[in-house]
């Protein structure tokens, strides 16, 4: 199973920093994922520091399987004390899970998470753990197994208390209201990604707020256990030309979405598989060469320039046009497991100092792209050099 995780957030109205903090890390060798959502006391920078410290420390503790009671005590003792309230406080939800569906969760102070299976709400068993040092810190720990298609939704109280005191929902949205929103959305779109669902929850919470102004930080963290969406990107001709047929066959036989990034690569696949390349009647869109088309391939682009631009988009923000880089970003973000086949053959012409721009080595771009895809977008990435 693939664990699709994402989190969407909104700042409290009039604040310039998020008071909730989300952090997630994958451990590809163990097929394991840890994600933490923390809500710091108050709002703005102060809350941001508290929640950031809590989430990052907790991630480390969970990673090392430190006793959770001990971990929570260490965190509480480490947090800076609020000048006004003379206390230090943050709430958290942490999940430690793996590809086989084994899930361990610890919650403290955050709204109880929601477990959805086939659009029904599951009720997991839990144990209560009380800290000796901090009697008011009651934690709930859960241990259960999820199945393919299950979702786990965590949120900060900014979601469940959205609309509090308003004419429509005097007590706020509450967990029941969140469940209603989830059931409604999932009945219409049961394959929705975690990224889209978390955005949807946050948007709904904002809409419920009076004047659409959140009175607290709003966060929704979603995990979706599903069949991974595989994709393969073939870029650059293989170092040994005699291997062209073999790699073209591997590419052709791949089950999942496929892209080719590189003119020479497109030509060699076209030659080996006897599939013509159809081109568009434009030369350039958004400063990049336009795409071509090949039967059985979802996207065919130019190589280095498009990859460089794509990396820039992934690093910063996606471009506002329909160029090949934007298409490649969408292709990548619509995948869970991304496989790169990277040809090691260099085109000497790319390194001519007379070229008006510097062209980077393909291997380096792909390495950087893999890192961004893993660290920022939580994708599983594999690279095969040819």
């Amino acid at each position: 199973m693939f664990i699709d995780v994402d989190c969407s957030q909104l700042k409290k109205y009039n604040q310039n920093a998020y008071g909730d903090y989300f952090v997630s890390k994958r451990y590809p060798d163990e097929g394991r994922l840890i994600a933490v959502l923390s809500d710091g006391l108050g709002s703005g920078i102060k809350a941001n520091i508290l929640s950031c410290m809590t989430a990052t420390m907790l991630l480390k503790f969970v990673e090392c399987e430190v006793n959770i009671k001990k971990a929570a005590e260490i965190i509480m003792n480490s947090l800076p004390v609020c000048k006004v309230r003379k206390i230090s406080y943050s709430t958290f939800s942490a999940i430690d899970c793996d590809d086989d569906g084994n899930v361990k969760i610890v919650e403290e102070g955050n709204p109880e998470f929601v477990w959805v299976r086939n659009n029904e709400i599951m009720v997991p068993e839990f144990q209560e753990v009380v800290s000796k040092e901090f009697a008011n810190r009651k934690m709930k720990t859960y241990k259960f197994k999820v199945e393919k298609g299950d979702r786990l939704i965590f949120c900060s109280d900014g979601v469940t208390q959205a609309g509090l005191g308003g004419p429509r929902l005097r007590l706020g949205l509450r967990r029941e209201g969140l469940i209603e929103i989830l059931k409604d959305k999932l009945s219409k779109d049961n394959k929705i990604s975690s990224s889209e669902l978390s955005k949807y929850i946050v948007k709904q919470a904002k809409n419920i707020e009076i004047d659409g102004k959140p009175k607290d930080d709003v966060s929704a963290m979603v995990l979706y256990f599903r069949e991974p969406r595989q994709s393969l990107i073939f870029t650059g001709p293989p170092y040994h030309q005699e291997k062209d047929p073999e790699y073209s066959r591997i590419f052709d036989n791949f089950r999942g979405k496929k892209a080719i990034c590189g003119g020479t690569t497109a030509n060699l696949v076209s030659r080996e598989l006897s599939r013509p390349i159809a081109t568009e009647t434009t030369i350039s869109i958004g400063n990049l060469p336009s795409c071509s088309h090949m039967e059985g391939v979802d996207l065919v682009t130019e190589g280095i320039l498009t990859l460089t631009k794509t990396l820039e988009y992934l690093d910063t923000e996606i471009g506002n046009n329909e160029n090949a880089g934007v298409k490649l970003v969408k292709f990548l973000l619509d995948s869970d497991c991304i496989n790169f086949m990277v040809g090691a053959k260099l085109n000497q012409a790319h390194y001519d100092p007379n070229l008006p721009i510097e062209i980077e080595i393909r291997k380096n771009i792909i390495k950087k792209m893999a890192k961004v895809l893993e660290d920022k977008y939580f994708k599983k990435v594999s690279i095969q050099y040819m």
């Binding site: 590189g262 003119g263 020479t264 497109a266 030509n267 390349i277 081109t279 568009e280 009647t281 434009t282 030369i283 350039s284 400063n287 990049l288 060469p289 336009s290 071509s292 065919v300 130019e302 190589g303 280095i304 320039l305 085109n347 000497q348 012409a349 790319h350 001519d352 007379n354 070229l355 008006p356 721009i357 062209i359």
Partner: protein, 86 residues
């Protein structure tokens, strides 16, 4: 006489060396020659990797004739030559 095929190389080298400026051909050629000439962008003509020492990108092919350091003017005159107008 068959249709003349003009292929503009959209490979990396050609694109940065100026084929990105040949979009004009896509618009002007059909207006000027109608169905007789077709202009397309193609993934890579593979010429820079053979000819790289001379750095003569961007390359355009007018049928089988290669236009080096292609500009709109050079491509148009290559088409004219093909049509026997020059």
């Amino acid at each position: 006489m068959g249709k003349i095929n003009v292929k503009v190389c959209l490979g990396t080298t050609c694109f940065v060396m100026g084929s990105s400026n040949l979009q004009e051909l896509i618009e002007t050629v059909p207006a000027k020659y109608g169905e007789a000439v077709e202009v397309l962008g193609v993934p890579c003509l593979g010429l820079c990797s053979i000819d790289w020492e001379y750095s003569r990108a961007p390359y355009v092919k007018v049928d089988n004739d290669v236009v080096y350091e292609a500009t709109v003017e050079k491509v148009l005159s290559a088409i004219e030559r093909k049509l026997g107008n020059e």
